[in-house]
Structure formats: structure tokens, C-alpha cells
């Protein structure tokens, strides 16, 4: 009962090429994602081959410059692609968002020489990226990170452990935030690390509540020797890079949450039209239809909010506060909508033969990643009270 008969979301897209891109995305989602999602999530199986398929179709470099093989798309369009993917399979949508985030330090802060050398491969669709910021003892307090990079001739020798790394062990490259001096947030650098570097290894994947098809692992850097020409931006600029990357990453998570919620809403609406109790369909009960109405309103509001933030970014305006608001609102909304979808399906919602209990477990992750929703409120509060 999932994707079947779903009416596509009405979208206002800026160009004909964006409309063609969304058509392609829907085709890939229904033909490549939908047939796999249930089995892969149940078996905790990472869909590496799906990333190859969508990468070759051009979905792994959308918001970056065509000069380096990107899709040259505004965030407004890129994020709607993420949302469409999430409507069918959140693991894949989140993966696209994380990959795009991992490309950002090189695309945004690398020199032209570095970008010419590596960016076409990162955006080309064959490679998958990961972003290494959190550590066991430094999550929200990212500036307290301790992974250290020490210069030895023409390499950095990197030692430390990174936590909660999406695609950890599966990725081909890691955008790594590490410490080159003890000056707090001003002592951090960003390195582009090849996965095959000696001394880079992944721990066993975490056993998570949801997003079981996605892989999350600790990454160990044990005397890993990373060439100094893989430093992105300057030493000490890492924290600024990390925060700028996260502003974009938060929008990816917001779009992911809206797609996830749309999926739950679609299932609940279909169910309310099929299930009969007391001689009528569930949708004829006002108690149920009011729930559906609130869910649909939440989804639309979330979409409007992340698109507003995206359009600010596309116009070159400050969008940090809007991105934090979009991440906060959309992921809390997704938690509520998926929980209500379980309620609409009743006992059927609580069992694994129907998809909504999984969506509810997935929504929880989105309230935590790319900055917990408490951190989003801190960010928004800081913007409001800044002198």
C-alpha cells in the first residue's frame, strides 16, 4: 500500500529543467527505491548500489557548479529532490544530504587547484562521502573536539575517534574536522581524507532504532597520514567551515523530514479511505479526518518553511536562522505526523507488516542529527538576541 496510487506533490519549480529533474527523481524512486525499502530496512542492509544508480543519474552533486560536474541547481530544487526521495526511502534521502554536506568543504573552501583535482570525482556519482565532526565526548559542543592532526614533513598525522558517522566504513572519502592547535574553536582544520588511507578504519556499525538501512559507525584515525595538500581552507578555519556546512546540511534534514512525513500522511489517508468500522470508512469520522487535516497542514507548513530558507540561501542572503527554524520545525512535525499515522492505523500501525512504525522510528533520528533540536533553538535564540 505504500507508493501505489500516490498523487505527486504539487510543486512550484523555477525552471523546466527542474521539472524534468523531479520527474527523473520520481521515476528512480518508484522503480529503484520502492521495491527495496522494506527488505533493506528490515535486514539492516546498506543500499550501496542504489547510490550508484542515482549517482549515475546525476543526483549526488546537484547544488554544485557544473564546471566540476555538479548539477548547477539551486537549493530550492536540490532539496525538493531530497524530499521526493525521502517520500519513498528516508535512508537514501538522508544519504544524499550527507554526501552533499561532505562535498561542501571542498566545493566551498578548496582552492581551484584542489577542486579541479578532486571535485569531479566527488560529484561524479561513483563515490560516496561522509562528514566527520562529532566525537564520543563532543557532540553538540563541536568545538571541544580532540582528534588531532600533527604536521610531519608533507603530511598530517591524524589520531582520534569520530562518532555517529553516517556512511562510516562505506564512504570513499571523509571530510574530517580535526585539531591542529589548542586554541578552541580557532584551532580546528578540515581535511579531505581518502577512505583507503592507512590508519583509517571503521568500527562495527551501530545498532540503531531506525534508519537501519543506513550505516552509522565510529571512525578511527590511528596515525593516519594525510597529505598536507588535502587541507581545505586554512588551518584554524575548520570550525567556520563546519558551521557553514551544517547550515546547508540542516536544510537537507528538513527536506528529508518533510518527505518522511508526506509518506506517513499518504499511508494514513489511504488507510482512512479503505478501513471500515461501524459501517463506514474511517475518513468519515471527524475525529480521524481532523487528525489527517492537522498532519497535512504540518507537512505543507514544513515544506514552505524549508523552501523559504532555501530561497534565501539561493539569493545569497543570510539563512542560518531560517535553516535552524526549518530543521527544528520540520523534524518535530515529522515526529508528530508519523506518530499520528501510527494512531490512525491503530494496531496495524504498530506492527512491522505496515510501514508507519518504521517511519515513526526514523523521524526520531531527524530530531537529533545535524544538531539536536535543542541546539537549533540555541541557534535561533542567539540570532534573536544578538546585539
Amino acid at each position: 500500500m505504500i507508493a501505489r496510487g500516490r498523487r505527486p506533490v504539487e510543486r512550484h519549480l523555477p525552471t523546466e529543467e527542474a521539472a524534468a529533474l523531479l520527474d527523473l527523481t520520481r521515476e528512480l524512486a518508484s522503480e529503484e527505491l520502492a521495491p527495496r525499502v522494506n527488505a533493506y530496512e528490515a535486514e539492516s542492509r546498506f543500499p550501496r548500489e542504489v547510490f550508484h544508480t542515482i549517482g549515475r543519474a546525476g543526483l549526488l552533486g546537484l547544488p554544485y557548479d557544473e564546471r566540476w560536474g555538479g548539477g548547477g541547481q539551486p537549493y530550492e530544487v536540490y532539496l525538493q529532490v531530497v524530499e521526493e526521495l525521502a517520500t519513498v526511502w528516508a535512508t537514501v534521502a538522508e544519504g544524499v544530504s550527507v554526501h552533499t554536506l561532505a562535498c561542501y568543504p571542498l566545493a566551498g573552501f578548496g582552492s581551484d587547484e584542489q577542486r579541479d583535482r578532486w571535485l569531479p570525482d566527488l560529484l561524479g556519482g561513483e563515490l560516496l562521502g561522509a562528514y566527520c565532526l562529532s566525537e564520543p565526548q563532543s557532540g553538540s559542543d563541536a568545538a571541544a573536539l580532540t582528534t588531532r592532526a600533527v604536521v610531519d614533513g608533507d603530511v598530517y598525522v591524524v589520531d582520534g575517534t569520530k562518532s555517529w558517522i553516517t556512511h562510516g566504513g562505506e564512504a570513499d572519502f571523509y571530510s574530517l574536522l580535526c585539531r591542529t592547535s589548542d586554541e578552541g574553536s580557532r584551532g580546528i582544520a578540515c581535511l579531505l581524507v581518502d577512505a583507503t588511507t592507512d590508519g583509517v578504519s571503521a568500527a562495527a556499525p551501530e545498532r540503531k532504532m531506525g534508519f537501519t538501512g543506513s550505516t552509522t559507525a565510529q571512525m578511527r584515525f590511528d596515525g593516519a597520514r594525510v597529505a598536507r595538500d588535502r587541507l581545505l581552507g586554512a588551518e584554524g578555519e575548520g570550525f567556520r567551515i563546519a558551521l557553514a556546512a551544517l547550515d546547508g546540511g540542516r536544510l537537507g534534514i528538513a527536506a528529508c523530514a518533510v518527505g518522511l512525513a508526506q509518506n506517513a500522511l499518504d499511508v494514513a489517508v489511504a488507510w482512512a479511505g479503505e478501513r471500515r468500522q461501524f459501517g463506514r470508512e474511517l475518513r468519515e469520522f471527524q475525529g480521524v479526518s481532523f487528525m489527517l487535516a492537522d498532519m497535512a497542514t504540518g507537512v505543507e507548513a514544513g515544506r514552505a518553511l524549508y523552501l523559504d530558507a532555501a530561497r534565501r540561501r539561493d539569493r545569497g542572503e543570510a539563512f542560518g536562522k531560517s535553516a535552524a527554524m526549518a530543521k527544528l520545525f520540520c523534524t518535530d512535525m515529522a515526529m508528530k505526523v508519523t506518530t499520528d499515522a501510527v494512531q490512525v492505523l491503530g494496531g496495524y500501525g504498530y506492527v512491522q507488516d505496515f510501514p508507519v512504525e518504521r517511519l515513526m522510528r526514523e523521524a526520531k533520528a531527524l530530531q537529533i542529527v545535524e544538531g539536536t533540536n535543542q541546539v537549533q533553538r540555541m541557534v535561533i535564540g542567539r540570532h534573536l538576541t544578538r546585539p
Partner: protein, 264 residues
């Protein structure tokens, strides 16, 4: 090596199809049009051969204006250019007329080494156009290929049969029809979709190809649909209630039932 791939736009295999009661032809308005699935395999095979042998891939389509969609899709997969034969006179063409139009259109394209096409269309399902086309062009025909290799002027295929395959060899220029076992067609890429809009599409009317409009379409068809009837709706099954002695003479009753339906 220059390749022409013939593609047809057909109603979506999964959609409900209707015949137009006026002229007993398919009501194409009523269904979602898509590229004939078997032709997607032909496009994919052409692109793979091009990757190895170089040359140009030309997409050839005979169909109404709306078939532009199918032409664009084939170009977005990677075809270099297209020829679209579009003419109201073509409405209702049978296989004989179709092969004539395709053959004349192929003759307008320079130095064609190979013509590839799906071995059948999912709407008409005749599987005769490839052979008719080869005959009209006076070229070798290699049909139902599940594998194609080209070595100089020699084309070798594995021809799918009911109980295995035959190895068939021919010389270029040749016509090869493919089956779906041959490959896994690619998705168009986003960049492919964008660049397809800029690729040249030559359109012809039948007169441009030196064909008399009377030779094609419903009036020129060698066959005609006299009448048609809708398949009767499926009857519901018969429920036999076991009143406690179901096991008695079970085999006998089953045989009786099967015999009444002429199964035994």
C-alpha cells in the same frame, strides 16, 4: 559504426487499453504513452556498442506528435540525433506499411551499419517488423538476440529459442532485433535530459520519403479489424461448502468438476 535504433511509443503496459469504436484502432488518448519497453533494450545495446566501436546512434521513430516524448527519452539516454516520421496519413498503419516507412527513413541516413529494434511492441505484439524491414532493405536479419557482438563486418548474435539459443552470424549492414534478456537499460541522467533538448531531430512526412500516403495508414493496410468485442469480465469462483463429508468421494467429485469444465 553507425547505428539506427527504431523506437515506438506505446500505451503503458499496465494501463487499461481501449479500442476506438469508430475505426477499431487503439485509443491512444486514453492511455499514458511510454517508450516500448523492448525498444529501451535496443537503445541500451546501441549505446553499449557505440562505447566500444564509436560512431553515431540515430533514433528513428514513426508516430504521432506526442511520440516526441519517446524520441526525447531515447536521446536523453544517449542517442546522438533523431529522425521522427510524423504524418496523419500514418494513422492505422499495419506492419507492412510500418516496415516501408522505417526502411525509407533509414535510407535517408548515411552509412548505417546496424539497425537495432525491440523484437516486438507491447501493443501490437506481431514481431514481424524486424524481418520485413530487413527484407525491404535487402540486409541480413538477425532476430531475437539476447547477445550481440560485432567484429569488423561480422555480427554475431545469440538467438533466443524456446529451449536455449542459436548462434547466428551475419554481415553488416544488418538488422538486429533484441529481447529483454540482452541487458539492463540505463536511466537517463539529469545531464542527458538537458542535453537531449539540444540534439537535432529531423522530422519527415510520408511524402518526404517518396511514399504515396495511400500506401500507408488504414486505407493502405493489408489487414483490417472487422469488429471487436471486449473480453467478458471474469466470473467469480464457485465456493463449495464442506458439509462434513467433504472427504467422501473427493477425487471423484474433483474429476467430475474438471470434466465439466473440459480440463480432463
Amino acid at each position: 559504426m553507425n547505428i539506427v535504433v527504431c523506437v515506438k511509443q506505446v500505451p503503458d503496459t499496465w494501463s487499461e487499453k481501449r479500442l476506438d469504436p469508430e475505426d477499431s484502432t487503439l485509443d491512444r488518448e486514453a492511455t499514458d504513452p511510454v517508450m516500448n519497453e523492448m525498444d529501451e533494450y535496443a537503445v541500451e545495446e546501441a549505446l553499449r556498442l557505440q562505447e566500444t566501436h564509436g560512431g553515431e546512434v540515430t533514433i528513428l521513430c514513426m508516430g504521432p506528435d506526442s511520440a516526441t516524448q519517446t524520441v526525447r527519452k531515447a536521446l536523453s539516454m544517449g542517442g546522438d540525433r533523431a529522425v521522427h516520421v510524423v504524418d496523419d496519413a500514418l494513422h492505422g498503419s499495419d506492419a507492412v506499411a510500418t516496415s516501408l516507412v522505417l526502411a525509407r527513413a533509414i535510407e535517408t541516413i548515411d552509412a548505417v551499419d546496424l539497425v537495432l529494434l525491440g523484437s516486438e511492441s507491447s501493443d501490437a505484439r506481431m514481431s514481424v517488423v524486424p524481418a520485413m524491414l530487413a527484407e525491404r532493405l535487402g540486409r541480413a536479419q538477425l532476430t531475437f538476440a539476447k547477445e550481440v557482438t560485432v567484429d569488423g563486418p561480422t555480427v554475431t548474435i545469440k538467438r533466443l529459442t524456446d529451449d536455449g539459443y542459436q548462434v547466428v552470424e551475419g554481415t553488416t549492414p544488418a538488422v538486429v532485433s533484441v529481447v529483454e534478456k540482452i541487458n539492463e537499460p540505463r536511466y537517463p541522467s539529469f545531464k542527458g535530459i538537458m542535453s537531449a533538448k539540444k540534439k537535432p531531430v529531423q522530422t519527415y512526412a510520408v511524402a518526404d520519403l517518396g511514399i504515396d500516403p495511400g500506401e500507408v495508414g488504414l486505407s493502405g493496410a493489408w489487414t483490417s479489424v472487422e469488429s471487436f468485442e471486449l473480453a467478458p469480465p471474469r466470473e467469480s469462483g464457485r465456493v463449495v461448502t464442506d458439509d462434513g463429508n467433504g472427504a467422501d468421494r473427493l477425487a471423484e467429485k474433483l474429476v467430475e468438476f474438471l470434466a465439466s469444465k473440459k480440463f480432463v
